[in-house]
C-alpha cells in the first residue's frame, strides 16, 4: 500500500491560487495572474500524472485487482458518534482517471485562456474562477464520502454560476447564469434528498462501505420498502436526478445551451461532468439532443447539445452495465468514453473559441471558408470531428465501440438508438465543420487571422490526445470491480457503426461542402420537424409556460398576495395600533410637575377611600 497523501495537493493548489488571485489579483499585471493560475494548475497536473503512473503501473503488482485507497481523511464535522462528516481523498481507478482528465483539460483551458481572454479587464477574475472550478471538480472526484461529494457538487454549481455570469454587464449572461443556478438547484435538491435517504437507511456516508455490493449497507436498505420500491431504488433515483441536473440531462437540459453566454473556454472544462445511472434517460437524451443539434446555428449551442447527447451515451452505457468482470463492460465503456470525450469535446470547444475569436460571431451563418485563414484550428477541428464521428483510428471509435457492444448485449432497442445517434452525430458535426471552414466564401470586415500560439498549442496537444487516447488499455485499468478483463473490438458491431458515421459525413458533405439549396429544401420538406427541432422541441417554452402561467399564476401570485396582505398586514396592523395608542396617551405626559403631583395625590386619595370604605 503506497503512500498517496500528496494527492491532497492536487485540489489544494487550485484553491490556493483562487484565494491568491481573488484577493490580490487586481494589483497584478494580467499576464502575471494568468501565469500564476496556469502554473498552479500545471503543478496539479504533474502530480496527477505522477499519481496515475504510480497507481496503474509502478505501485501496482501485475495481475491483481486495483484497490481503492483512502489517501487522507479527517473528521470535519463531528455531529454525533454515528453521524460524522469526513473530508478526504479517495484513490481508485475512476478518480485517478478523472484526475488526469480534469487536470489535463483544465491546464489546456488555462493556457488557451491566456490568449483568449487577452485584454479583458477581468482577466485575473477569470483565472481565479477557473481555479475555483478546477478545485471543486477535483474535490468532487476525490471525495471519500457522499456528503463531501455533495459539498463539492455545490461548489461546482457556484463556480459555473460565476463563470457563466462572467460578463456580468451583459443582461443575457446574467439571466443565463441565474437559469443555470436555479435549474441545477432543483436537481441538487433531488441529490440531497437521495443522499439523506441513503445515509439514513445505511448509517454511513462512506463510499467504500456504500459501494461494497456484499456489504451490510446495501443489505440493510434493500429490504425497506417505500411506495412499492425499495428505499435503495428511491434514493438512487433521487441521486440520479441530481446527476442529471448537473450534466444537463432531459428534462434538466434547458440551462446548458443558454449558458453559452460565458467565455468559451469554460465549456471545455464543464463538459466531462457526468456520473450516474439510468439508460433510458441517457438514450432519450442522446437522440433528443442530437436532433436539436442538427438544426442549431449558434456553434456553441451545437456543441452544447452534442455534449448533452454524448453524456446521454455514457449514461446509457452505465445503465446497461452489470457489476464485475465482463458484465461491467458498460461501466468501463462509459468511463472510457468519458475520457476520450473529455479530450475531443474540449478540443471542439477550444476550436470553436478560436473561430469565434477570429470572426467575432457565434453564428454559423456568419462563417464559411475559414480553412484558409485558420489552418491550425481547421486541422484540429477536423480531427475532433472525425473522433466524435467514431472513425478509426481516432479515440472516439474505440470508446464508442465499447458502448455499442455493451448496449448490444443488453437491450437491442437502445442499441438501435445508439446507431441512429452515431449517424446524427457524424452529420451535425460535419455540418458544423463545413459551415465554418468550407461553404460559402463569406466577406469579412477584416481578414480573420489565426489565433496566437498560446491558443493553438493547447489545440494541438488535445488533438494529439484525441488521436491516441483510444489506444490506452482501458479495460485493464478502470473496471467496476478493479479487476481487468479481456476486451476486443467486435467487428460485427464496429463496421456498421463506422459505416453509419461515414454515411452521416457523406450526407453532410453533399449538403454543406458547397452552398447548395438542399438544406433549405430539406427544411421545407420536413418543415414541422425542422421547426420543432430548431426551437429545441419547445422545451424552453414549456418551462416558461409552467413557470409563468402555472407556478407564477396559481402558486406564486396567491402566496405573494398572502404575504403582502396577511403577513405584512398583521405586522403593519400591530405597528399602526401602537402608533395610534401612543398618540392617544401622549397628552398624559405633559411635563407639568404639578399636574403629575395632582394625579398622584388624587390616586392616593381614591385608593385610601377604597381601602377604608369598600374593603
Amino acid at each position: 500500500m503506497a503512500d498517496y497523501t500528496y494527492t491532497l495537493l492536487i485540489p489544494l493548489i487550485p484553491l490556493f491560487v483562487f484565494v491568491l488571485l481573488g484577493l490580490t489579483g487586481h494589483k497584478m499585471k494580467p499576464v502575471v495572474s494568468g501565469l500564476i493560475g496556469t502554473s498552479g494548475l500545471g503543478i496539479s497536473a504533474i502530480l496527477a500524472y505522477a499519481t496515475a503512473f504510480k497507481y496503474f503501473w509502478t505501485g501496482h503488482a501485475a495481475g491483481t485487482a486495483y484497490t481503492s485507497i483512502k489517501a487522507f481523511e479527517v473528521s470535519w464535522l463531528h455531529l454525533t458518534d454515528k453521524l460524522t462528516i469526513h473530508l478526504g481523498a479517495l484513490i481508485d481507478p475512476i478518480s485517478v482517471m478523472m484526475l488526469v482528465v480534469i487536470t489535463t483539460v483544465s491546464l489546456m483551458v488555462h493556457i488557451y485562456s491566456i490568449g483568449y481572454m487577452k485584454g479583458d479587464p477581468g482577466f485575473y477574475r477569470f483565472f481565479s474562477f477557473l481555479s475555483l472550478f478546477s478545485f471543486s471538480m477535483l474535490g468532487l472526484i476525490l471525495a471519500t464520502n457522499i456528503f463531501q461529494m455533495y459539498i463539492f457538487w455545490e461548489l461546482v454549481g457556484v463556480s459555473s454560476f460565476l463563470l457563466i455570469g462572467y460578463y456580468y454587464e451583459k443582461p443575457s449572461a446574467v439571466a443565463a447564469s441565474k437559469k443555470a443556478f436555479i435549474v441545477t438547484r432543483f436537481a441538487d435538491l433531488g441529490f440531497l434528498i437521495g443522499i439523506l435517504m441513503l445515509s439514513f437507511n445505511t448509517g454511513t456516508f462512506d463510499f467504500q462501505t456504500l459501494t461494497d455490493p456484499h456489504g451490510p449497507a446495501i443489505a440493510s436498505v434493500g429490504g425497506a420498502a417505500f411506495m412499492g420500491m425499495s428505499v435503495l431504488t428511491w434514493s438512487l433515483i433521487f441521486i440520479f436526478v441530481g446527476g442529471a441536473g448537473k450534466s444537463a440531462m432531459f428534462p434538466f437540459h434547458i440551462w446548458l445551451p443558454d449558458a453559452m453566454e460565458g467565455p468559451t473556454p469554460v465549456y471545455a472544462l464543464a463538459a466531462p461532468d457526468a456520473l450516474h445511472v439510468v439508460a433510458w434517460v441517457g438514450g432519450f437524451s442522446s437522440i433528443f439532443a442530437a436532433v436539436i443539434a442538427c438544426t442549431q446555428t449558434d456553434i456553441k449551442r451545437v456543441l452544447a447539445f452534442s455534449t448533452m447527447s454524448q453524456i446521454g451515451y455514457m449514461m446509457l452505457a452505465l445503465g446497461v452495465s452489470g457489476f464485475g468482470g465482463e458484465d461491467g463492460l458498460g461501466f468501463m465503456a462509459s468511463n472510457f468514453h468519458l475520457f476520450t470525450h473529455a479530450m475531443f469535446k474540449a478540443l471542439l470547444f477550444l476550436g470553436a473559441g478560436a473561430v469565434i475569436h477570429a470572426v467575432h460571431s457565434n453564428e454559423i451563418t456568419d462563417m464559411g471558408g475559414l480553412r484558409k485563414h485558420l489552418p491550425i484550428t481547421h486541422i484540429t477541428f477536423l480531427i475532433a470531428c472525425l473522433t466524435i464521428a467514431g472513425i478509426p483510428p481516432f479515440s472516439g471509435f474505440f470508446s464508442k465501440d465499447e458502448i455499442l457492444a455493451a448496449a448490444f448485449h443488453s437491450n437491442k432497442f437502445l442499441f438501435a438508438i445508439e446507431y441512429i445517434v452515431a449517424g446524427l452525430t457524424a452529420f451535425y458535426m460535419f455540418r458544423l465543420y463545413y459551415g465554418i471552414f468550407w461553404g460559402k466564401n463569406t466577406h469579412y470586415h477584416h481578414t480573420p487571422h489565426e489565433a496566437p500560439r498560446v491558443m493553438t498549442i493547447p489545440l494541438m496537444i488535445l488533438a494529439f490526445g484525441s488521436i491516441f487516447a483510444g489506444f490506452l488499455p482501458f479495460h485493464n485499468l478502470v473496471t467496476s470491480d478493479g479487476k481487468g478483463f479481456e476486451s476486443h473490438i467486435d467487428w460485427m458491431i464496429a463496421i456498421p457503426s463506422v459505416l453509419i458515421g461515414v454515411i452521416g459525413i457523406v450526407i453532410a458533405t453533399i449538403m454543406y461542402k458547397k452552398p447548395t439549396a438542399i438544406p433549405d429544401k430539406m427544411a421545407g420538406t420536413f418543415r414541422n420537424l425542422y421547426k420543432w427541432a430548431h426551437r429545441k422541441f419547445y422545451m424552453d417554452e414549456v418551462y416558461l409556460y409552467v413557470t409563468r402561467k402555472i407556478i407564477f399564476r396559481y402558486i406564486s401570485v396567491p402566496i405573494a398576495w398572502f404575504d403582502r396582505h396577511i403577513v405584512d398586514g398583521t405586522m403593519n396592523g400591530i405597528a399602526g395600533m401602537t402608533v395610534w395608542a401612543a398618540f392617544a396617551v401622549k397628552g398624559l405626559q405633559s411635563g407639568k410637575l404639578q399636574q403629575y403631583a395632582f394625579v398622584f395625590v388624587g390616586g392616593t386619595v381614591v385608593l385610601v377611600l377604597i381601602f377604608v370604605y369598600l374593603v
Partner: protein
C-alpha cells in the same frame, strides 16, 4: 399638664399641616415655596411619629429616632432640591414651575 392633651389634638394639627402642605405643593408656582410645602408635609409626619410614640409606647424611643432620621433626610433633600433649583434658575432665568415643562412627549 401635657398628659391632659388628648392624642386627637396632635393628629388634627398634623393632618391640617399635611393638607396645607399638599395644597401649597399643588398650587404654588414658585419652586422655593413648593419646597417649603414639602417640608410642611414631612414635619406633619414627624408630629405623628412623636405623638404616637408618646401615647402608645411611652417607654420606648423608636418614634423619636425615626423623627430624627426624617429630619436628617429632609435636610439632605432640601440641599439637593436647592441645588436643582439653582440650576433651573441658571437655565431658565426663572424659578417658576410652569416654565419647567421641557420633559414631555
Amino acid at each position: 399638664m401635657i398628659q391632659n392633651i388628648p392624642l386627637s389634638y396632635y393628629l388634627v394639627i398634623s393632618t391640617l399641616m399635611f393638607f396645607i402642605g399638599i395644597y401649597g405643593f399643588l398650587t404654588r408656582r414658585n419652586l422655593i415655596t413648593m419646597l417649603m410645602s414639602v417640608e410642611l408635609i414631612l414635619n406633619s409626619v414627624n408630629i405623628n411619629f412623636v405623638a404616637f410614640n408618646r401615647y402608645l409606647y411611652p417607654q420606648q424611643l423608636q418614634g423619636h429616632f425615626f423623627m430624627l432620621i426624617v429630619i436628617a433626610v429632609a435636610a439632605a433633600e432640601a440641599a439637593v432640591a436647592i441645588a436643582i433649583i439653582i440650576n433651573i434658575y441658571r437655565n431658565f432665568k426663572s424659578i417658576d414651575v410652569e416654565n419647567v415643562d421641557e420633559m414631555k412627549y
